[in-house]
Amino acid sequence: MDSVFASIVQAPEDPILGVTAAYNKDPSPNKLNLGVGAYRTEEGKPLVLNVVRKAEQLLVNDQSRVKEYLPILGLAEFNKLSAKLILGDDSPAIQENRVATAQCLSGTGSLRVGAEFLAKHYHQRTIYIPQPSWGNHVKVFTMAGLSVKNYRYYDPTTRGLNFQGLLEDLGAAPAGAIVLLHACAHNPTGVDPTVEQWEQIRQSMRSKGLLPFFDSAYQGFASGSLDVDAQPVRTFVADGGECFIAQSYAKNMGLYGERVGALSIVCKAADVASRVESQLKLVIRPMYSNPPIHGASIAMTILKNSDMYNEWKIELKAMADRIISMRKQLFDALSAKGTPGNWSHIIKQIGMFTFTGLNSDQVAFMTKEYHIYMTSDGISMAGLSSKTVPHLADAIHAAVTRCC
């Protein structure tokens, strides 16, 4: 019998996940994986936080735990604590029961569920995303039924924010359009608006009735402080307006493969939030019925225990500090080598990623000659260590001076 799928062609490799695949194939002892944004220790190893191991043990030792289905919206306590984490313990939106929260599959799942909800219930079907953005954003929103437009964001000449362009583009968006905002540690550029710039963005968006959709994948990871990194979201919520927030615990709790996240929809009124919550269930049920229990249980255990929560904050800050230190070391190394160009963006940018400003020929050169694996956009700083910074600095220096 002929297959009905006979004409299917092979899909291209995912550009981000494909980098790790290529890295794995390389036999060179000097190879360096600066691709996927997963944290690595100084020894280049993945890290499971101590507090996460503790939580895991508590769970495994608790004989009373069962593996029953979670409710469609996931663990209620996890949802409450996640909302508090991003909005603040004293958030009026929470106190007024105006927040509908669903446990989802990490950031991706939260974005997808939010986008499908919007495609079903919102009158505007266009979402504006920054140029550039995480590669998977376009696919998530398109699959959900939204159409995607861009707003200017990264300025290659300054390797910083194109603030004028951003304001112009958002100003020209149709009233009510959805706008994706990276809450902190913009992926892939590492370029974040300043506090003053965020305030202007907020005012402009609210005056046009644009709907903010925050992607918060790095809370605590950018500056080392959970509260500081949540500020942009909190100022939007403080003005009483509505917004969507997708949270991920992949990086800041190191729960990557457990797929832990939450979607929160901040509404104007409690009865609205309650109806919104009920409709979220209808989006989720035909997608995967209910979310996975393990990772969210770990996160919840940590969030609700004040000792563990404090331990977590300390370990989180240590990760953020190590990355900040890598930035400094790379910048210092390039300065010491006298590598042509202005490299201050390496220390100005924040979070896991650095947009180097290198072109794709230079990147290909670095891969071929120095076995450096990165996306053509930028570097995952988390993949660097004090030992490997010199090798990367060499590679960048060579790429800039010898190649292209």
Partner: protein, 422 residues
Amino acid sequence: MAIRRAMSGRIMDRTAVVGARYMSSWWRSVQPAPKDPILGVTEAFLADQSADKVNVGVGAYRDDNGKPVVLECVREAERRIAGNLNMEYLPMGGSVKMVEETLKLAYGENSELIKEKRIAAVQALSGTGACRLFADFQKRFCPDSQIYIPVPTWANHHNIWRDAQVPQKTYHYYHPESKGLDFAAMIDDIKNAPNGSFFLLHACAHNPTGVDPSEEQWREISHHIKAKGHFAFFDMAYQGFASGDPEKDAKAIRIFLEDGHHIGIAQSYAKNMGLYGQRVGCLSVLCEDEKQAVAVKSQLQQLARPMYSNPPVHGALIVSTILSDPDLKKQWLKEVKVMADRIIGMRTALRGNLEKLGSPLSWQHITNQIGMFCYSGLTPEQVDRLTNEFHIYMTRNGRISMAGVTTGNVEYLANAIHEVTK
């Protein structure tokens, strides 16, 4: 709607208009959604204060004390896993090891098809996730196709293919008069469907009826599906749970494979390994050759990426730990048989009790049907009476989850059913 009307009436004062919109919620017009017919039952059960309450709603296994069960092999696997491995992202297609072991269960331990690498397979979010991924795949690559769904079926099947935007049709399945299979009508529907239609088949332990075709009937179904060039998609959520023997429960699939169909299968470990909340399953699509399987798998991954990027690691680790250790696998097979046997025992007990009470109706179907569910034949009104008068919770289609029946409540249940049907 109100917002648009407001806009057209106030073109002059745009700032005021957008300000007004800013002041009110975008979601005022969002209606409260109806409760999920299945999951809503458990919610109502939990809220009930009565000491006599019985939950025969959602299809989650309970032991004879009415308690959820974590299999011993699962506890052991978790002890081995905890603290030992990192939590890195799985590949988009999930755990390769878990998928390999899972294919063996469905296609056969020594399947040539596996050896020839003709099966495109990815880890999925339990059965739901596997069905949804397939539905999205069907929509993308056979955009003109439609899916034929049995009547009745698990309610969520309709939601899944609807949200994937694949048009649905139904085919006859359950025969209310005999409380068995409406075989002739089913075959007619297969023959009358346009060539190349997609058919959703329950591999074993049909949900919600418990009515499965016999082996001979499966052979005929296979023959007619082949004659029409239809695509057979199997939802196998109860392998091992129906007869107690996973090999036996895969018989329908094996028949189709022998007949040369290129099938698709959604597999779930929710029930047979008790991993419900872990969301572990697998979607597989049998292809012509290895090259095509590689291509199809890559496309399945493209659909998973914008949904959840990569699947959860913990549940998959439990499965691969158990299935790749011969002792743990043996233990699992034993524990699955215990669960299946208890359910078969409860079927016998429920039917026996009803007959003892002198019920005028026939209750043969309770023991004829197989798997977790019994399609009792009770009407929605009778079900409501069971709930309101006897605190017995089940879905209004009369589906009884036999897993919720225990030696402690089977008499009470039989009495109540007798009361509302006599």
